[in-house]
Amino acid sequence: MRAPEIFRTSSFRIAAISAGVFALGALVLFAFVYWQTATHETATIDRFVERQVRSLTSGHGEELARDLLLAERPAERGFAYAALFDGERHPLAGNLAALPADFPIDGHAHAALLGGERPVRAAGAFLPDGRIVFIARDVTELRQLQRVVRRALLLGAIPALLLALAAGALLSWRELRRVRMVNRAVARILQGDLKERLPARNQADDFDRLAMAVNRMLDEIGRLLEEIKGVGDNIAHDLRTPLTRVRARLERSREADRPPEELEAAIDVAIAGLDQTLGIITALLRITEIEEGNRRAAFGEIDLARIVRDVAELYGPIAENAGIEIAVAAPSSRPVKGDRDLLVEAVANVLDNAIKFAPAESRIDFAVLDGPDGPIVRVRDRGPGIPQEERAQVLKRFYRADKSRHLPGSGLGLGVVSAVMNLHRFRIAIGDGEPGCIFDLICANQLAD
């Protein structure tokens, strides 16, 4: 049976490790204190006691008596007990009634319990005449300290350890809940609910940041899928229409007894239809090429005013034929970094679009303005304009407002413009001409030089 999930969370593991480190540190600390008291202090006392015993036994008679007199007040000399016994262990002087039983008289310090209850470190030695000198130092306080340390260990450190683990468990449980929520949301997303987003409580912790990043990815995926779907729908229509026309015409011409002129005409229609289809495919590939392009590496200094004048010249005759006047205002402009071919293509597409929608006998204003961030290429027509709601859509591939479905063209023109502007990091702004549409290409270089 697997351990409950909570014990497998990373936060629990972190809590467990922290608790472990804390416990280890506490253990080391207490062990040190214990060592100091138990071993070190005791050893010091032992050495002191042994030294005293040695000096007493090496002293001569009178000095011994004097020493022992002083020993009446042993505390002043740093030990609690001092006594002199005869060879049969009868007390001769000092503040001890009897030697502790089985106490080795060898000049070395040993532990002893005086009066059955007082812990001491003591040493005893033989005088040359057989008498026994006994010195002892009280270690009650030391023993008490040791007891306190032991108790602290049991009563203090261990509960602290448990507290750390409990806190870890609590945090882990909360994290686990969040992970479970996220997993559920992901499961829903995988089942196709692409509008679902991960819960992010905006607390700016790592978890939330991750969730927000994933949400941004989901937004992008959603956008791309919508585009593909849009392309799929429109491609179906725009590619199949000419091909259907071609097929129908060719099939009809197969019928017997068609005069050669009709066959020729059918072949011409077929070629035209195929060319139209190929044109759509080429335009699509073009957009992909622009979007994936490495063209930024080949950017040069571009004179937008010059481009406007050239494009105006190119499209002049077409506008004339439609009775449309193109008013050009492009005296000069700040240079921008870009790809000349692509920018011409973009500007031409915008103007071409305007010409398509401008009514006869109207004027199109085609100008280069000096904007705050850079030059703006502006095309303004007096046609039906683009309604507010459609302005974002209109730049997508293959979008065509219903009112323009009847017009020739692949609907990719503004898609190309969008791709070129994106590549250059320029912006597009669509405004209301009242009447008509104002289409701005804001060529503000945000590329690092």
């Binding site: 005759p317 077409i318 011409v344 293509e345 031409a348």
Partner: protein, 238 residues
């Protein structure tokens, strides 16, 4: 040289591995009077190009054994200066640039109109009239490059700058098919523009000025290909 027919008898080497495309092109060029050989691999093509003295090479990019660009680069390194037309299904701008950098003189993307192919072949076989003369003359037309004016016979023609550019281009390629793509690329230096009838409209305006009512039309449309400026308007239509 001004002749109303294409370069008959010119020797062309076609290096193309797709059988059907190969026979289509051979057929079309054969009908035009060209003498066409073909190779199906890069190495065979390279060897053939070295041996035979061809007037023009048509090289497909995707070839077995040795790819088209490598063939062209090798020939150029060996100082073979025969004009080369590159054929490719790869139509991206970068591909075109690579093809021309490798030593190609022109680049056509598949699928292409046969009229486009033959027009470009002609353009490569008969280079434009590169004359230092300051006045171009084709038939009754006369174009003064310094004073920037044009006349047809006695009649002075008032041309806009863009019309002048276009007429100069046509007058340097008399009696040759000039396709819409060629004009867009060479006269205006653009490649991907909406409204392919752009050129038609420009030509239309020019025609109205050049071919006044009652005069023999000098600018003729060529079905499936493009336009042509004829030097002898009285000669039979092609």
């Amino acid at each position: 040289m001004q002749s109303p027919t294409p370069s008959q008898g010119a020797k062309i080497l076609l290096i193309e591995d797709d059988g059907e495309t190969c026979s289509e092109i051979r057929g079309a060029l054969g009908e035009r009077g060209y003498d066409v050989d073909d190779s199906a691999t890069g190495t065979a093509g390279l060897n053939a190009a070295r041996r035979g003295a061809y007037d023009l090479l048509i090289v497909d990019r995707m070839l077995p054994e040795l790819d088209g660009l490598a063939v062209i680069e090798t020939l150029r390194a060996e100082r073979v200066r025969t004009p080369v037309l590159v054929l490719s299904a790869l139509g991206a701008v970068d591909d075109r640039i690579r093809g021309l950098k490798a030593g190609g003189d022109d680049y056509l993307t598949k699928p292409f109109a046969l009229g486009e192919l033959t027009a470009r072949i002609e353009a490569l076989l008969r280079r434009p009239v590169e004359t230092r003369a300051t006045v171009l003359r084709v038939g009754p037309l006369s174009l003064d490059l310094i004073d920037r004016n044009a006349t047809r016979g006695e009649r002075v023609i008032d041309l806009l700058p863009r019309e002048f550019k276009l007429l100069e281009y046509l007058m340097r390629r008399p009696d040759r098919v000039v396709t819409r793509d060629m004009m867009l690329e060479d006269v205006w230096n653009y490649r991907f523009l909406p409204q392919t009838n752009l050129v038609d409209v420009h030509i239309g305006k020019l025609r109205r000025k050049i071919d006044a009512p009652g005069e023999q039309p000098l600018i003729r449309g060529v079905r499936g290909a493009g336009f042509m400026l004829v030097s002898n308007p009285d000669a039979a239509k092609i």
